[in-house]
């Protein structure tokens, strides 16, 4: 049983569940205490000690029946158990003769296992399959297909033929028909069990390949992938990465704020607090600094920028508890205030609908005009404590650069920061006006992947 549990643990590890040595020892102790008589207790015991992440629970639930379930192939039986001693003698003799002259080697071993009832353990079987078939080298494919292929390579279907041959020989030697039938039945059952075992091992092999493949490219790598190289399924993974990063960022910011909360000495409060210590200033009070920023974020939602904008807004809204006020705007050919969308909808949904709030099509970005509209209609979104974040590539296809309104925004705000996913060598080429806006900003960050984006956002909470 211990061996089986160890096998199970290594299978879980192969599927990407992180199990330490200490945990596997715990699992053994748990099994010892809980006993193996009741399957549901046994299962709970393993689950409590091995799986520590909710996301690994489905893996556990999938793997458990494979190792401790009804799917275990039945043990092999010895054919010819009901025969008389001399018949059995004949059977052994015939079998030996046949095996001696049988080729190829793998078929001989299978036939031997089938006729003597001495099977192979799972690891032996794995090695056997590794040596004689190509099924274990396959990295992709469905289990039934791979199993069929392995069977073909082993010439599994010849077993029936060989069995018939053996039966004929025994019949000639005068063994009774009844005993032969019994023996054949047992042999066929053995064959089915072997087939099942092969299928299982091939399936495990595929799973292992799959797990190794997955380990080679962990989800964290997405952080370094450029935004425009992201495929659709990656975007889902990104969402989990973003949530995790936001949590990390939050702890970091919270810690920094806790440490930075020691502002200047608050004399009045200190005297009041220390009255009970006879005026000895044991408990020194400080005036708290208000570090939570107000953020106005102005995002480009043109086709090329949509993904970055989505991630940026998602990150900003995941950090709402660290921000005292957020005002989101999106621009394309026109600019729009999208705060209402974010108040009514959840961030993911809001991000989906906001691009429809503005007009524009390919090659119609009009940043200069949008800046003019912004200073005319929305300057109330900026006060001297606001950090203004521009997120865009700085392209402007329809209007001339507008440094005048940009300066106006800068004068009214605490800080202006620009996040640009375009590589710096493109700044200022063709329709790009980054070379004009860039120097006016307090900081410009090049954000081409998630890691850079997170670093840039982290910088906002200085």
């Amino acid at each position: 049983m211990d061996q089986r549990v160890v096998d199970f643990i290594s299978a879980l590890r192969a599927r990407g569940v992180r199990i330490s040595l200490a945990e596997s020892i715990d699992a053994m102790r748990c099994v010892e205490v809980a006993g193996i008589a009741d399957k549901s207790f046994f299962r709970s015991a393993l689950r409590a000690s091995l799986v520590k992440e909710p996301r690994d629970l489905p893996t556990f639930d999938e793997m458990f029946p494979r190792y401790f379930g009804v799917e275990m192939p039945p043990p092999l039986q010895q054919p010819g158990g009901g025969m008389s001693p001399e018949d059995r003698e004949k059977l052994a003799q015939m079998l030996e003769q046949m095996l001696a002259s049988m080729t190829p080697e793998q078929l001989r071993r299978l036939f031997e296992a089938m006729m003597t009832g001495q099977g192979m353990s799972n690891s032996q079987m794995r090695q056997f399959l590794n040596e004689h078939t190509s099924a274990m080298q396959m990295t992709t494919g469905f289990q039934p297909w791979a199993t069929r292929r392995a069977m073909r390579e082993l010439q599994f279907d010849r077993l029936e033929q060989l069995l018939q041959e053996l039966l004929d020989r025994l019949r000639e030697a005068g063994v009774s028909e009844e005993a032969l039938q019994q023996m054949a039945e047992a042999a066929r059952e053995n064959r089915e069990a072997l087939a099942q075992q092969i299928g299982q091992e091939v399936g495990n092999g595929l799973l292992q390949h799959d797990a190794e493949e997955r380990r080679r490219r962990p989800a964290e790598d997405l952080q370094d992938r450029a935004f425009d190289e992201l495929a659709h399924q990656d975007v889902d993974d990104m969402r989990t990465v973003i949530n995790r990063l936001a949590a990390q960022l939050r702890t970091r910011i919270a810690l920094r704020q806790k440490r930075a909360s020691k502002g200047i000495l608050d004399a009045k409060s200190t005297i009041r607090a220390n009255l009970r210590y006879a005026g000895v200033p044991l408990d020194v009070r400080h005036r708290r600094k208000h570090l939570k920023p107000r953020i106005t974020v102005i995002c480009d939602v043109s086709g090329s920028m949509r993904a970055v904008t989505g991630f940026m807004l998602m990150l900003v809204y995941a950090l709402q508890d660290q921000i005292s006020r957020t005002r989101p705007f999106v621009y394309y050919r026109t600019i729009a205030d999208v705060q209402a969308d974010f108040q009514q909808l959840r961030p993911e949904e809001a991000i989906r609908v906001v691009p429809e709030r503005v007009k524009g099509g390919p090659w119609q970005t009009s940043l200069g005009a949008c800046l003019a509209t912004f200073t005319r209609d929305h300057l109330d979104a900026i006060d001297r404590r606001t950090t203004v974040i521009f997120l865009g590539d700085g392209d402007d296809h329809l209007s001339p650069p507008n440094p005048r309104d940009f300066e106006l925004i800068k004068r009214r705000s605490h800080r202006v920061v620009w996040f640009n996913p375009e590589p710096p060598y493109r700044w200022g080429r063709e329709d790009n006006h980054m070379h004009i806006y860039g120097p006016l900003c307090d900081a410009v960050h090049h954000v081409s992947n998630l890691r850079q984006l997170v670093a840039a956002v982290d910088g906002l909470f200085g």
Binding site: R18, S20, A22, E23, D26, R29, C30, V33, A34, D38, S40, F41, S44, A45, R47, A48, S49, V51, K52, E53, P54, L57, R244, A247, R250, T251, A254, L255, K258, R276, Y277, A278, V280, L282, D283, Q344, R346
Partner: protein, 328 residues
């Protein structure tokens, strides 16, 4: 304490808590192996309650440490009682004068004072916080560390010593070892990832929303006066709400609150007016409420249409109730 898993189940049931197999086994193992339990799951499925009933069932005192952002050792472990120390120094001034009588140099005075330092840094002036209380308690206790995911990562690291060896070090006093190993339950709402090291030291228990049968049992147990038919309907309704895409799904504790509300209102069966009036007990966000109401109206119109159909045509198989909401 317990010799079989069945006993755990009986003991917890006696405290009016219905444990699943999973919970009973984990509690049994924790009891046998002396390991802490880390209970994770959505809010309001009975994680904290488990600690309470466990303490009650084993007749131990429950010591609770509620975690929050910025929680540190002085709040969790111990603190020196400055005020008391100061008061004692004031009162013992004459004694101190006696002690320092005949001293000529400042250095000598400091030395003499230092030799008496132990008086002021002894357990007399220590204010024990939950962790120290749990470790030094004369009687066996159950320690509940609630919402560990809210505390900072630093605090989590500090907990490791306490959880693996059940001892704490106080620089002035040395290491204090637990007299009785406390049974520890940590709960987490999974708002952030806990460290591997912490998880490794614990038995992991994932408590999810209960199945309809279990929830019905819970409602029957906690709100005994509720008519069985109504309880059945209420549980079905809650289960259906959990299948919907809501900001916050109703928890078990909210189901119980709702059942109590229905009982107070003397409701006979679950009609639209009753649900409209009491839905805010289950759902706490305006958006969720509206969504649930819309689904209910749609549901009703579906039903009336189906009834119309039934009167004319032969009865059709009812389609899956839960599946219809999953898409919106």
């Amino acid at each position: 304490m317990f010799n079989a898993i069945g006993e755990v189940r009986t003991a917890l049931s006696a405290e009016r808590y219905i444990p699943s197999d999973e919970i009973a086994t984990t509690v049994f193992l924790a009891e046998k192996l002396g390991k802490p339990i880390l209970a994770e799951g959505p809010a309001g499925v009975g994680k904290t309650e488990l600690a309470k009933v466990w303490a009650a069932a084993t007749n131990r005192e429950l010591i609770r440490l509620q975690c929050y952002e910025g929680l540190d050792e002085t709040k969790a472990l111990y603190e020196w009682e400055y005020a008391k120390q100061l008061l004692y120094t004031q009162l013992l001034r004459d004694k101190l004068n006696d002690l320092l009588a005949g001293v000529t140099t400042l250095a000598e005075a400091a030395d003499r004072l230092a030799s008496e330092e132990d008086v002021f840094f002894s357990s007399r002036f220590m204010l024990p916080r939950p962790l120290l209380k749990a470790v030094t308690s004369e009687r066996p206790v159950t320690l509940l560390i609630d919402e560990i995911d809210r505390a900072d990562a630093e605090f989590e690291a500090f907990l490791l010593e306490v959880l693996s060896d059940f001892q704490v070090s106080v620089p002035e006093l040395g290491t204090i070892r637990a007299r009785h190993q406390p049974m520890v339950v940590l709960t987490s709402n999974n708002t952030r990832e806990l460290s591997e090291a912490l998880k490794r030291r614990c038995l992991y228990l994932h408590i999810d929303y209960p199945s309809a049968d279990q929830e019905l049992q819970i409602v029957n147990l906690k709100v005994p006066g509720l008519p069985p038919k109504l309880a059945q309907q209420a549980v079905e309704m809650v289960q259906r709400l959990r299948g919907m895409d809501l900001k916050k799904h109703p928890s078990v504790s909210e189901t119980i609150d709702w059942a109590r509300a229905l009982l107070e209102l003397n409701a006979r069966h679950l009609d639209r007016a009753v649900v409209e009036n009491t839905l805010n007990v289950l759902l706490k966000f305006e958006g969720d409420l509206q969504r649930a109401r819309r689904a209910m109206i749609r549901d009703e119109s579906d039903r009336s249409r189906r009834e119309r159909d039934e009167s004319g045509r032969p009865r059709r198989e009812r389609d899956d109730e839960g599946g219809r909401y999953r898409g919106n």
